[in-house]
Every structure is written in C-alpha cells, then in structure tokens.
Symmetry: C2
Amino acid sequence: MSSLTHPMQLILTLVKTHNQALKPLENTLSVHGLSFTEWLVLHRLSQSSDHTIKRVSLADSIGVTASGVTRLLLPMEKVGWVERVANARDARVSLVRLTHGGLEAYQQATQSIEYAAERVTNMMNQQQVEQCMGLLSSLHLSAIDASQLS
Amino acid sequence: MSSLTHPMQLILTLVKTHNQALKPLENTLSVHGLSFTEWLVLHRLSQSSDHTIKRVSLADSIGVTASGVTRLLLPMEKVGWVERVANARDARVSLVRLTHGGLEAYQQATQSIEYAAERVTNMMNQQQVEQCMGLLSSLHLSAIDASQLS
DNA sequence: GCATAATACTTTACTACTCAAGTATTATGC
DNA sequence: GCATAATACTTGAGTAGTAAAGTATTATGC
C-alpha cells in the first residue's frame, strides 16, 4: 500500500509525531504567555553561566537564524524577561541576559510544560522514553552528517 | 546540568531531530521544485483510490488546516500536478485529483527523497529504524490522547 | 597601517502557514 | 417545508519564521 522505504516511513512518523506532540505543549505554554521557541530561549539562558549568552550562539542552540533571534527577543525584552548587554571587547556582539523576572517565568512555565510532556508520553515507560531518545539521537547525528555532504 | 525530566528531554530531542532530519530532505525536494508539504500532498493522492480525495480529508491526513490546503493547492493546480473535480452529490465539496504529470513528478521526487532519507538514517540499521518507528508511534498515540483532554 | 575579508548583528521582503469570519450548500428537528 | 445547525470550503488578517542585503566592527595578509 504505502510502498515507501523504511527510512522514509520513519521520517513520516517522525514528522507526524513531532506535530502531534508539540500541540499540547504549546497550548500549555500559551497560558504563561510563552511560545515553545520562547521557552527554548529561556531554557538555554537558564543553563548558561551568568545567564548570559551571545545572540549567535543562542540562535545556533535553539535552531533558528540570527535574524530569527532578533525578532524573537524583541518582545521578550519589552516584557522584561531578557535584557541586552554590550560586550566591551567586541562592539559587534551584543549579549542576552536572563533577568530575574525571566527566570521566574521560566521556572513556572517549565513546571507546566514538564507536566504536559509527561501526559504526552503516558503510554511509554521510562525505559522506552530513554530508548527512544537514544535512537533519535543517532538519527540526529546521521542527519547532521548527511547535510554536510550536500 | 539540564535538570529536565526525561519526557521533556525526549521532546527536546524529538524537536531537534525533526528539524535536522527535514533539512536535507527539503533541499533534495527543492531540486524537483517541490516543498515537503507538497510532496506529502502528492504522496497522499498517489495512494487514494482514483487518485482523488476530498480537500478536508487531504488537510487532515497531511496535518494542515482546510485553509492551508486551499493555499497549498493553488500553485499545484497552476503547474498541473493536481486538478479540481466537482462532486455531483454534494456541491460543497470539491475533490482533488492527481494528474498524470503529478504522478510522474511524485515518482521522480520520491526516488530522490527516499535516497535522502536513507542517507539521513545511515547510522541506524533496519532493526533500529523499525524500533524507532514503533516507539514514535506510541508517543504519537499518547499525544493524540493527551490533546483530547485539554 | 591599510585594503580585504570575516563576523555579528539588523532590516526588508517574502513564504508558509494559522485562526476567525464569510459564503455556499446540505442535513436535521419539529 | 422551513428555520437552525452543520459542513466544506475560501478569504482577510496576522504570526513565526527564512534568505538576502545592509551596517558596523574586528581580524588578517601583506
């Protein structure tokens, strides 16, 4: 019926699962006035030393472009979750720092999203969750590898 | 360091893998003048009886809204890959049919995307691919379940 | 030290959607 | 059979990004 190769079937499953799994998490975050990408920003900042990071590094680690970060941070600065910090050594770079308010928003949103993530994985036991993570990681590495060839 | 729950770590891995894995496939398809979503349309049509399907069913099966389908099909009709077919019994519905040209485009693009998918999974053996698919499917089912609660 | 290149952004124009409202048609209850 | 609701779309307005070009600053080769 399908007649697609197994790797291609895996991709289709990956895409469908991604879309389905993300929806409830985004709904949960929207209560906190946060998009998933914004939560990623707060998460990344929360684990940086000094809660501060270069904008390009942030872009890289959350998987958006530099211009994406510019647009993403604008409203977050206005709300006061993050602030702009200049770099004395290099006037080109401007750092982003998580504010106290931003950390609090992150901690509250994280409680909600983790609970939602638990509901979304309710049919899996912990071993399956870890196994799935491992398999996805090796797929992830292959993908990086493959994209460098083309 | 991360201090996130395992389910949440799985979600992060899922998102990252999804984005990384899709890029090479989209690059491959772009050679054929096709986006990934458009390939999904052709794929879905190719496995429908008579190569024909209702627009809402199509929307559902590829994971976009009805209005998304309208916008998606417009250029595909112009290029001649699909055509609009009226339904005699119900004037509300308009069906989409894969044309001969559309089928040819699909078959060629599928050869490329399947090859790309193989490269993207080159670090996994067939057993791992199938296992990963199975785990993602159970995650998928949980997600549907969870979204119905909220 | 000075031209050229590279880096770190920002801005402009675009794409690919979404949601909500609008239109047309068919189904349902009484 | 006629009002009300439901269904199947389409359209208008908005969102979340991208890619390419622009600006400012720093690094590199000679």
